[in-house]
Subunit: 597 residues, 2 copies
């Protein structure tokens, strides 16, 4: 397989210090690290340098790719940041592991169908043996937190979130937050997901039977994290599922999630009724050994719930949900995921794989929102959450879907009540069905609201939702839109420090520090490009006006004049207004500066 | 001046029946009319023809441009739809009117500065004399409604909104809704703005001293209404203000709003302190005679409020607000707009110009939201609303701005209380400051929420906000984003019939009627283009899957199988499930269809 740039994916480069951005300008920030209580605990941040000499520190998800001092190579994979922490705990052991079989990549002796698309694609990185808890013992952050232990991972996220490690431990111990970190994924920079912390954003990638390649998926993953994705789900459904996932995991600085059911279905050639617990279990172990950090499990789709979807406008719209529904009906049996849930818990606990209990019956249209089927499943997810906790498995709950604004709050309130405040992880919700090609926006509205009300992580929706597979631009648009929703929610929740970012940008705006506005923007490249479209000249970068109002009418300039002419504080202005109005007149009452040129 | 297509602006053509769209396909809807109680009362609708033989009727703002039977010519202007209705009322008279002077287009004997950019730009349409209420009597829809009269305009919007004319009359009479319709703008298709009706969207256009031409503005206006703008504000601030406005008015099927203060300031060469009541009044009459339907008046920016902005992070960000603040300080006098407000009411009443009382002190950053300055002005707008009503002037109240989600509801609740439920007309609000280039999204979130809670009209924000002047693409993106926010709010408010649109599209989605999905989409062109990117082949238009999941895994297909195999209703499924599971197995348990090719 060919990688455009073996050292650093092109997608990440534009973020690196002093390297050209898409807009061909250099940008004023660099990667820095905040050190914790030990030298091997260095938390990355984005340091934005302002033209007024100050600097602003922002949360950074882009990984080593944006650190010019780190020599990255997607063929080698990222350095195993957590390896020593995991080994030092002494509660895990390496073992031979499950042999990788051709069918793991969808290759049938029966029906080869071309086989592995590019055989040289097998990940060449250093050989590794999988690791699991000694004797299958739980090695989860939840188990440690309950024992009162503060792990390096907990301290790492505490530094990232600017809270005390004890707060992190408490939230994890209470099940109100999860820290997805498979012992076989030592490359990740730990992240915490819980309503007490910054709202997180997940980006979905994944090839399908119809389109896209391994290379594209690795590229999309680095691109998504460069723009701020906190986790990435690999939803591949076509050939090369195992190999694509290996490349993604070894090169991902963020936790990776999957839906094992998709790969299991590939192994039975897409025939739902041929699925068995054994095939599913084998797939889960395969993925756990690779290092998948969280898995969507649709164990809440129970046989008796399927008829509840009969009168729906759009039936079952979750892939996993519909597959399990078809299986239940074909055998007229209860879901094998529901029946074997405790056994599944034991497996996940031994690798510290986090549950993302899937909402297989989520509404796929405004008409189906908050219906009996959806809430019946939610109540089951509550039961399963209780069981998972008994096995010390970290657990998130997935949420809808398509929900009109007035029905959104009921979702988060019910989920928090039924699931003992386990982190809610929602897709949107989309607040209307009428705008295909703009569902990042229809869902961004619902996402911001439900995050304000307590959702811990938002699964992004791209402009291609309902229409096609997202390309690189769609991934960026989806991530940026959801970072907006997440930050708007952080502000509304009064998250400490959240507003500092807004304040820094607004100060820059009021003081006409254009370069600082661009560098502080969620998307500096596009902000600069838009400004330059109408006022490309360099003087415009320091001009006290912009193309919207032109040199006259600039309201903020007038505000500055008022402040300058009449004193800074309200008291000064009130006191001096009458007298100073005369001087103001003599000063020429300039409400604008001449065009700089 | 050159118009790309003198018969129909290119921007509008793509909407016409069977004419090529941007994507080069013909689209399955056509312009139709619903007739009222009289032959000259024909309300345009968009009739979408579905492949299942049904059709869906949607609200249409695109004007005669999308009617192939109407011979439009931007040089002649649109037919004066309302002329006979206005004349028949017999309460207005034509008069010589105010002579148009060079300075109306910003041409100074003192400083010509190039003068009129294109002299041939003077609107060539049929000569017309301005009209006003006999002896200056109020000829407003509010006055008629209070007298118990249901005008043709009221019946027109009643048909559009699918409510009884009496409901329209009551809402207008109570001041809870406005129907902006200057007697000198007979070309418009009447629209009602009030919380009891569909949420409306305004699009801003306008050239500036820095960029853009008359032609571009006329083009943007038709383009904005083609995508769904209910009103358009011409915020021109450069040369040719009068002439640009004339072209826009004579060709606009929707009400046009302006901020007269911008033109008045041009007349005094941008020196705020040189503004006088006489210059402002003359400008208002000039614009009223042209046919401006509503005017933003910043009469709430009072001298004592200016110091309240001193400690703000971003001071005063409203152009009009900062101009009036500068004037107040320069003269240390109370605002001439506040002092002469009653006289202004008499003028507007004689033309039926609707007030849009401007929020000159709106917050320009998250930090300044809901502060003392903002709410002090709002209380003043409440006083002015009461005065305006005494003069039978229809009145809207403008709102913020930059407001975090948790502070949005306070804005609408306070406005409704203080302003006797007068229609609220808000800009966004933007829910965070950190995303320049994406402020259509930061504000679309706030817009949807505040509209759900009662805002009657939303002023769009484009991706260029804070960065530059919107081009054609930005106008489209802004309008589509705000149509989403408005419709999401209509759904959340339970507006009768609003969900039919969502249901029709979701039915099409569930039944894989791809062409119907495209034609029902807010933006059919882009939806179709996105789909074709990954599955361009024609069979894909009827395929029972899409590129997201491929032929396998299609959840909705599985739902259909379940329904088909187990009966349609919940009862049937429950009854037959056990027995039918066997047949289902025999049927092959197909969870997907083979790829159509």
């Amino acid at each position: 397989m060919t990688i455009k740039d073996a050292r650093t994916p092109a997608s990440a480069q534009s973020a690196a210090q002093e390297t050209p951005t898409e807009a061909g300008k250099s940008i004023g920030w660099h990667k820095a690290y905040v050190e914790g209580s030990r030298p091997d605990l260095r938390v990355p941040v984005r340091q934005v340098h302002l033209t007024n000499g100050r600097s602003v520190t922002l949360y950074d998800t882009s990984g080593p790719y944006t650190d010019p001092l780190v020599d990255t190579d997607v063929r080698r994979g990222l350095p195993p940041l957590r390896e020593n922490w995991i080994i030092a705990r002494g509660d895990t052991e390496e073992y031979a592991g499950r042999p990788v079989r051709p069918e793991d990549d969808g290759i049938k002796h029966t029906a080869p169908r071309g086989g592995l698309r590019n055989l040289d694609a097998v990940f060449p990185g250093r050989p590794r043996q999988p690791r699991r808890g000694r004797g299958g013992a739980p090695v989860t952050q939840l188990a440690y937190a309950r024992r009162g232990e503060i792990t390096p991972e907990m301290e790492y996220v505490a530094v990232r979130e600017n809270v005390s490690p004890e707060v992190v431990r408490e939230e994890i111990a209470a099940g109100r937050a999860v820290l997805p970190a498979n012992v076989n994924h030592p490359e990740i920079e730990p992240v915490i997901i819980g309503k007490r912390f910054l709202v997180k954003v997940n980006a979905n990638i994944g090839n399908s039977a119809v389109t896209s390649s391994i290379e594209e998926e690795v590229e999309k993953m680095t691109w998504a994290t460069r723009w701020g994705a906190d986790t990435v789900m690999d939803l591949s459904t076509g050939r090369n599922i195992h190999t694509t996932r290996e490349w993604v995991l070894r090169n991902s600085p963020v936790p990776i999630g999957t839906v094992p059911l998709y790969q299991a279905l590939e192994k039975v050639d897409g025939k739902a009724e041929e699925l068995t617990w054994e095939i599913y279990k084998d797939t889960v172990i395969e993925q756990a050994e690779q290092g998948v950090d969280y898995m969507t499990v649709h164990a809440g789709v129970r046989l008796p719930f399927v008829p509840l979807t009969a009168n729906r406008k759009t039936g079952i719209v979750s892939r996993g949900g519909s597959i399990m529904a078809a299986w239940c009906l074909a055998h007229h049996k209860e879901s094998f995921l529901y029946e074997h849930f405790e056994e599944l818990c034991e497996i996940l606990a031994a690798y510290d794989v986090t549950y993302s209990l899937g909402d297989g019956l989520r509404p796929g249209s405004i008409a189906d929102a908050n219906d009996e089927a959806q809430f019946a499943e939610l109540r089951t997810l509550g039961e399963l959450n209780t069981i998972a906790k008994r096995f010390h498995v970290q657990t998130m709950i997935e949420g809808p879907g398509h929900v009109p604004m007035h029905k959104i709050k009921e979702n988060i309130d019910l989920q928090q009540e039924i699931c003992d405040e386990a982190p809610f992880y929602t897709l949107g919700p989309l607040t209307t069905d009428i705008a295909p090609a703009y569902d990042h926006i229809t869902s961004g509205i619902g996402a911001a609201m439900i995050a304000w009300w307590g959702t811990a992580m938002l699964c992004y929706v791209t402009p291609k939702e309902h229409l096609g597979l997202p390309d690189r631009d769609d991934v960026k648009t989806g991530v940026i839109t959801y970072k907006i929703a997440a930050h708007a929610a952080d502000l509304a929740k009064g998250h400490p420090g959240a507003q500092e970012w807004d304040d820094a940008l607004s100060d820059a705006r009021f003081e006409f520090r254009w370069e600082d506005q661009f560098n502080l923007a969620l998307d500096p490249d596009t902000a600069r490009a838009f400004h330059d479209e109408t006022l490309p000249a360099e003087p415009a970068k320091t001009a006290h006006f912009c193309s919207m109002c032109g040199p006259k009418f600039c309201s903020m300039k007038i505000s500055q004049d008022i402040r300058r002419e009449h004193g800074g504080t309200r008291g000064e202005i009130e006191a001096g207004m009458a007298q100073k109005s005369k001087e103001f007149a003599e000063a020429g009452n300039r409400v604008y500066l001449p065009i700089a040129d």
